[in-house]
Subunit: 190 residues, 2 copies
Amino acid sequence: MGVQSKVALVRAMKDLLAEDGYLATSPRDVLRRSGVGHGSLYHHFDGKDDLAAAALAEVATEMRSEADALLDSVDDPLEGVLTWLRAPRQSLMGCRLGRLTGEPILEQSRVRDPIGAFFEYLQHRLAEKLHDAVAAGDLDRGVVSADLAATLVAVVQGGFVIARATGDPDAMNRAQRGALALLSGSRGGA
Amino acid sequence: MGVQSKVALVRAMKDLLAEDGYLATSPRDVLRRSGVGHGSLYHHFDGKDDLAAAALAEVATEMRSEADALLDSVDDPLEGVLTWLRAPRQSLMGCRLGRLTGEPILEQSRVRDPIGAFFEYLQHRLAEKLHDAVAAGDLDRGVVSADLAATLVAVVQGGFVIARATGDPDAMNRAQRGALALLSGSRGGA
DNA sequence: GTCTATAGTAAGATAGAC
DNA sequence: GTCTATCTTACTATAGAC
């Protein structure tokens, strides 16, 4: 089967991390889901956390691409940010990376690295766009792009948290709409 | 020792839930931390999840009180909201309730109830204040109080997520500042 | 590279004496 | 009400044959 087992393991781990998180996912679960034998896991990886780190690195890459696609879907920088913010999200599932931040495993850097790097990247990209929007006169000059970037990322991540806490998928939509409305108040007064 | 053991168990569970979350906290951990014997746990509670539900009910009550104290610390409704939003938070610890929303246990309603109810309550209280602020002419008439309430709760919850993900406690401050700046753009244009 | 067998530890809960 | 002993199952990993 060549390198197929390794790929199957990573794929299964990615799915299970999204569904149940890290702690609740056991090597057994991954093996069952992937159809791969027990020995292969420990041949290709050091163990559960090593496999999880590999899986999360892939997830982080995918999420960067998704964010980039939205942010760069339009030329206008502010429109790019708004497109990203407005994007529909499966709120009850939770963010594939953000959802893991509650787990104690996060203190082990091996698995936090891809998660942290993604959020740094996302904030950086948003701040960039916001900075350009200010320069273009589409946002008030007083806007601190790094602050606003953090706020917008937080709105989305918090939307996931509230939606899951209350079981109400619409909580995400409300959070997004509220943020969009606030943004329109900081518009244009160049 | 009377009812002391029960109290000690709940106290220990509250601490451990805050430190490690639900899944990572075992009955053994609670027993060790509380100094209570194994039998007492199962005498006073049905099991781990029952004890956790009791602990979370207390946490939720405490957090309601804390939120109320901030929101009602000033007469002016908008100032109350701003006071709540500005409050310093131990971002790297994560929210004692929001942090648990990533765990699969959340699907079992027993333990989700107090968490969900708290977030409903918090949004309701914020929406109330925001509604009054609009009526008082301190916020634009176009403001949808339920949307903005969700946004502000999300900013805080998302601030916790980003701070933990990146290991940067200042992420919370940035998110808060960005939101405060946005709010000042929706001010007063009655 | 993959398999089955197995090991050591912990989770979560029950039994029954005190 | 509290304790110790014990039970079953699962977790995570290793051993060693194929």
